[in-house]
Symmetry: D2
Subunit: 494 residues, 4 copies
């Protein structure tokens, strides 16, 4: 069912569509004054995880559950007194999101989380980051049994499973519902008085617990704790469900069969903000370490190391520090990116990238330049950047990529192009180098990446320490719906 | 759950809140080119039945079901090429609405009909005009059995009952669902290829069938057929359910136990447009006949007969024709009413009504004036109008009201104040006359009203021909939810 | 210079473009609390004189001059606390306007009055209703001498003439400026402390003086006094300039050579609101009298007298009262007119008029109907109405028009089509009757019209008592700019 | 006169108000297809020079002069097909702006440039960057002689001077007008066919000439040439006026008495984009050189060199390269800054800066940190940043500032706080260090800055090579209007 969208589309992603994109950020808090203000700030800090839409639900004894869901950025929707006054209460959850790949870049307002359901023992709201890999099957069964779906969101499956549960309390019902669900997900949920958080058994997606005053906070990343002055308590464990109330504090449950964790390694490479802390490690320092590894694995004689702004910056600094080649900002990013401009006639090529980036011509001219980028997905941006650098008179261009070749789609809550569009699924490193037209191209190795994230022995092939399916094709959770839809898993031969 | 509303509230009702208000208008068509255009036009013609919000659902084989729901007037939402292009298809239904009394004048966008549900055999959308009197009970049972409600609308009950039905087809499921439902309602619904219409067993709310080219139309009133050039075929019968497709035409079902019809008599008095035809009678002529009856029942010597614009106009003309007293526009209505103005300091009293109405001072001065109005609900407007007329120098003011005293609330889809706010529930005619401060006040008798609508013998007390609960307190369908909530039915003594 | 317009065009005129349209309404007040509130209310009451845009200027000793000018209706722009707070002060003026014919229906925001100018002795704002017939010549001279125009409005000419005046005070400068100006205009203007009003020497356009509390009001029509509870003091005299201050009251000046007045007779027929008082006469009663004259001049045997809503209503009532033929609402107007709908395929003809008007079919069928309209301009609407009435089964249709044939354009502030588009400029009454396809067509005679406005002897041909140029082609002020642009005045032969 | 502003205020400046702010960017082109598209792109590249509003004027033989002026960012206003279609033509100019200090951060739409004037020989539009220091005097004289001003902008003075000039052509009139004007300004202007550019005699503000295809471009900075693929031809000379047409190319005039140039040195430090080229020097490399000078002048033993993002980045890189201390991103900037959030209760301090910046805690903890910033104006941001760094556990904090102490306001088109608010106007370097609470604070010396911009001998005290009034208090053009208003120039003693 095609559904109307907001009249004004949110501003485009600052990078073009040649990146993998995290699809969601989640936040919740309990035991604070005016929870909605904290949630708005937390979602603002998580905006890089989803820019298309956002939603907040709070509960107040006088008004009951309150909700606002809007297309667009947090700063544009959740800063006015008028809106915030409609969201009273000391408990609440919030969500920012991208559209899923299937919906062609258009989020319907009814798909914006959190979702709310009324049960006989009271209401509950839920929001998640990630993907339920058997959602299509679950939805089909629920419809056959008489459930009416109002959205295309996976979260709604959980609400319907809870509605049909025999559990006496909402946390009981959520436990029962989650046991029917497969996939990679972090969840924040709430009842009138309880904040609930949960990570899937493998802990693929992040979720941290913080403390602010007498209240508690759940958030996708630690940068959302910093913005409200909360202290990091710990990460929610893989497979853990916490039930938090202002009076009883944090209670821990483990509804799933225990498994060895497989945290998403790409959170270190690109998704998370550099000022967040993941698994006890500074994301910035991990990325700097990736740059150092890359300088060791793939050295090259050159005059300058330049980042592709802004995500390549820490790795470029690391590469410079390791190699001794001076670091410089050869490419400048325009601070005021936004909607699509009308492209003038043929006299201008590559308008898209020019609107965002400009080469520092005087600096680049006649130089041998190492460009450090975080990833190569479809390669379209890389080609445009190479052209800009050469147009500006660079003598040589060497690409160094802070992640291994992205050869497989992610089915765990990340927006990836179809496999045929992934450059690394179709070409060898040498073919890619020729295709991009650069003097050299090198990706960090999987082992190098594992070393940079602290696994000094590299990747454990028998039992990898992280989910690296996008690089390795080894999916820790079977993507059941996608296989139904025809996706070919990696064969033994590959 | 309090839910966000559209940023810009729709313009206020042209009259103030001292009127009963029909809560909905419905429209559907099948077998036409670009159904959405016809629906928009039909809803525009039915705008007097609901000005707060409107919605359209269509179906097209390529895009599936399409939907747009908006706060505000049809002309402001469903006229742009951009919106209408999102609603392709040869079949569709639409709805305009007021808020229900309970929601304090604010319709949440999620309460805007039509509602849509996906069943295992395909999708269906539904919209209704009226009220399900056991909706609260049904909703409680459905929630206990695991249904998740997304709105506070009665229509959603029907969708959930259909979802839990064992019927093989959507019309079968709707029949089954409707048999569980009590109340007064007219319904339009649709599947991918079938347009469905239904009236409750008493036929309280109106619904007509029209034909345009090879297509069929359902609408609350005939004025919505006129605007698209459709011909009136007939009214849907009380208790009838029609299933209409482009190829097989109209099939008639009667799912309910037959009962004697009780059409809403107030549709004749006020709700319907004067250019509509109800039960084979011109609404305009009925109202003129009411004026004639009133002149016979309650004559008075005076210089001018003036309507309270605009709804009192036909009865005033009838009164003038019967009495021979000249008809004149003593009160002029401002064409550009709208949002609330900021009232200046005390120097101005009664700003509200001055914004909408102005007395024709030169005409009124020194005259004995008969004012004909359609009804008196709370009496607040009547007092302001009397003041304006006397300020302008009228010698005498006589009110003649084209309906009997409104002493009871309506529970069948009409927005009525609580009983304690209804002037006629608390005062005799003489007391009301004194309260309003006019020289005389007379309401048409119930029998007079019945004669004007064509019942030459007046009201059949044993078995009234119409629903006149708002005048008589005799409710043809027990308002179960309201009784649960504490409403006191009329006692034998009253 | 083409200039941007407001993103959302104001709603279309309720009637289509087959009417003459007054181009402006003006209002001013001094010595009141929060002048802007009174101005907003006054402009709302004058909205029928101009719906495209409105502006308000006030002055407060603390903030100086304050201004807000907006596209659209008063109720949509000047009712929010946020806007009204920016307009403090006890003195101010306001304006509503249509676009002039030349600008193709699009008013640029910079053309919205009032206009403001800063002189060495302080600022002044001005707004006018009417037309300066030598504005093009004046503008050319001013530009040659170094004035920079910011708009295409005539008001700006007056500001520039004032800027170049040697007068010591602003009223002195305005007097000097007005003596250079030709045309038909009413003006409201203001300094920091003085409200100024002026009518052209012939008094073609209206302007009245009112009193509210200790303050004074100027307005185009008395209905704008009523809405704020002000009392009518008197009309400003033709050629009079009043300078009003809170402390000194009203001072009267007569800057022009005295002339015999020629008030616009069409204000009585159509422009003014029926509840206004013009020249001591109720507009409603004048229109009723026109209907009576018409019944005497052009009687016809018929079953019903119906107005073309809404402007034909008083004349239709008069026709009915004089002829004894029953008055009825054969055509019903939709209260919710607005923007253009997308017209469905050929199955629907004449959508435009159907959106606004619907025939009361049951009433009209088989009847001989007299339709009373205020005027026939291009005749396009008349043809559509005749079609609707015949489609509904009327046996005969007789048009009676409450004004003489409109054969000449107005150059005094009224939007008229080019002469070749005026039906009466190209056809005799019989030819028009055949063209419109009605059983009979009669216009009131010029003498009949004069009788109805109180000139019992009819029109004084040697020295007409009114401006009736649109009927007679006799222009009391030479339209200098239009003659320069090629307009052919009436020849002796015509 | 207070005038309405756009309903939605543009997003706040990404930094808070503790920076000097360039007030304008200008752009023009001739001889290109669809000039407006190039202008929109050019203004987008110049958006850092003014974010409150923007305007474009073009000329096309068919439509004449076309104009659009809007509050807000270029990307939000000048990217829609609908707006751009209203701006046809092969010639045009554009402007982005901040508000001036006096107007309290609110730009009225009527103050948005370019300004347009109609002269007897045709129209002209003009936009400028900078300040006319005798504008108040000129305006007073012009008003006394009968000019009507519509804005508070200096540009309008020039238009009025041109209107009163006797010159035969528009360029002649502009030359005559400019000779009456004092100050620091760069101008772009246009007639129907000619693009005009001009710099004041000292060349304080920048203006460059570019070539794209057969067309010519004028822009404030070279980054605006890059975005449309234009080549840099040369800078416009101080005191030069160029008149450019598609057919005759560039003609050069020198209307002013020659003077020694005094280009604004702060353009190198902060205003210009790092990818622009000023006076043949890369701005990025100049800033890196400032960092190197600073490392030589004010070395300090530390663990990390961190920039205050983003403007301190190049100088921090230079400091790191010179000192050998590792460069690191200790402070991370949120990409999604925007409107003001509602600040939660006291539990959060310094919300403002937290919304924009977050400290990389894991990196900073226990470290001795050098923070490199571009300037210290009021010092408020510096204090907040110091607090954040210390809260994150830094052992020492050393500030190094890439400009000398800002002790004097700029009167040449830069928004500076009043002198009493400038920290360096009231404290010595040591006092500032104590006030900011850091372990050390050092500014680059004026001589060091001059060396970094290429003056190997440092500043020529007798005849400084740049305008450095904000540091030295030596104003190359007397700020006449400001002296009239009471500003105290530097005394011999200071």
């Amino acid at each position: 069912m095609s559904i109307e969208t907001a009249p004004d589309m949110p501003p485009a992603h600052p990078f073009d569509d040649d990146k993998l994109r995290e699809e969601c950020g989640i936040f919740g808090c309990v035991g604070v004054v005016d929870a909605a203000n904290f949630i708005a700030l937390g979602l603002h800090a998580l905006q890089h995880r989803g820019q298309e839409a956002g939603g907040i639900v709070t509960h107040d004894t006088e008004t009951g559950f309150n909700q606002a869901r809007r297309m667009g950025l947090v700063r544009d929707n959740f800063t006015s007194q008028k809106v915030m006054e409609t969201l009273p209460g000391a408990i609440g959850i919030g969500h920012v999101r991208y559209s899923t790949a299937g919906s062609k870049g258009q989020t319907a307002i009814r798909d914006v989380q959190p979702f709310f359901g009324e049960f006989s023992m009271g209401g509950a709201a839920i929001a998640h980051n990630g993907n339920i890999t058997n959602a299509v099957q679950l939805r089909r069964e629920l419809i056959e049994r008489g459930s009416i779906f109002q959205s295309s969101s996976d979260s709604e499956c959980i609400i319907h499973l809870m509605a049909r549960s025999m559990g006496r309390t909402i946390p009981d019902r959520m436990e029962e519902a989650l046991r029917k669900v497969e996939g990679a997900f972090s969840i924040v949920a709430m009842t009138r008085s309880k904040l609930i958080g949960c990570r899937d058994p493998l802990g693929v997606r992040p979720l941290v617990l913080g403390k602010v005053g007498d209240g508690f906070v759940l958030a996708s990343e630690t940068c959302a704790l910093d913005i409200i002055g909360a202290e990091l308590v710990r990460e929610i464990e893989p497979g853990e469900m916490v039930v938090i109330s202002a009076d009883k504090g944090v209670q821990s449950h483990f509804p799933f069969r225990p498994q060895k964790p497989r945290f998403c390694v790409f959170e270190h490479v690109y998704f998370s903000r550099p000022d967040s802390i993941l698994g006890g490690r500074s994301v910035y320092e991990t990325r700097e370490a990736i740059g150092r590894e890359l300088a060791k694995e793939a050295p090259v004689d050159a005059d300058l190391v330049c980042p592709v702004p802004d995500s390549g910056t820490p790795a470029a600094i690391g590469f410079s520090l390791e190699s001794g080649i001076p670091y410089a900002m050869g490419i400048i990013r325009n601070q005021y990116m936004g909607r699509t401009f009308i492209e003038p006639t043929e006299s201008i090529r590559n308008m898209g990238v020019r609107l965002k980036l400009n080469v520092n011509r005087a600096l680049i001219k006649g130089k041998r330049v190492i460009l450090v980028d975080d990833s190569v997905v479809r390669g379209t941006t890389s080609i445009k950047i190479r052209e800009m650098i050469l147009d500006a008179g660079a003598k040589e261009v060497h690409f160094r990529i802070a992640s291994p070749p992205t050869a497989w789609p992610c089915f765990y809550g990340v927006d990836t192009p179809n496999r045929e569009k992934l450059l690394a699924a179709n070409m060898s490193e040498d073919e890619m180098c020729a295709h991009l037209g650069v003097d050299s191209l090198r990706f960090i190795s999987l082992d190098g990446l594992y070393r940079a994230v602290g696994e000094s022995g590299g990747r454990n092939k028998a039992q990898p320490q992280y989910c690296d399916a996008c690089f390795s094709g080894e999916y820790p959770v079977e993507p059941a719906d996608m296989i139904d839809a025809g996706f070919q898993m990696k064969t033994a031969a590959e």
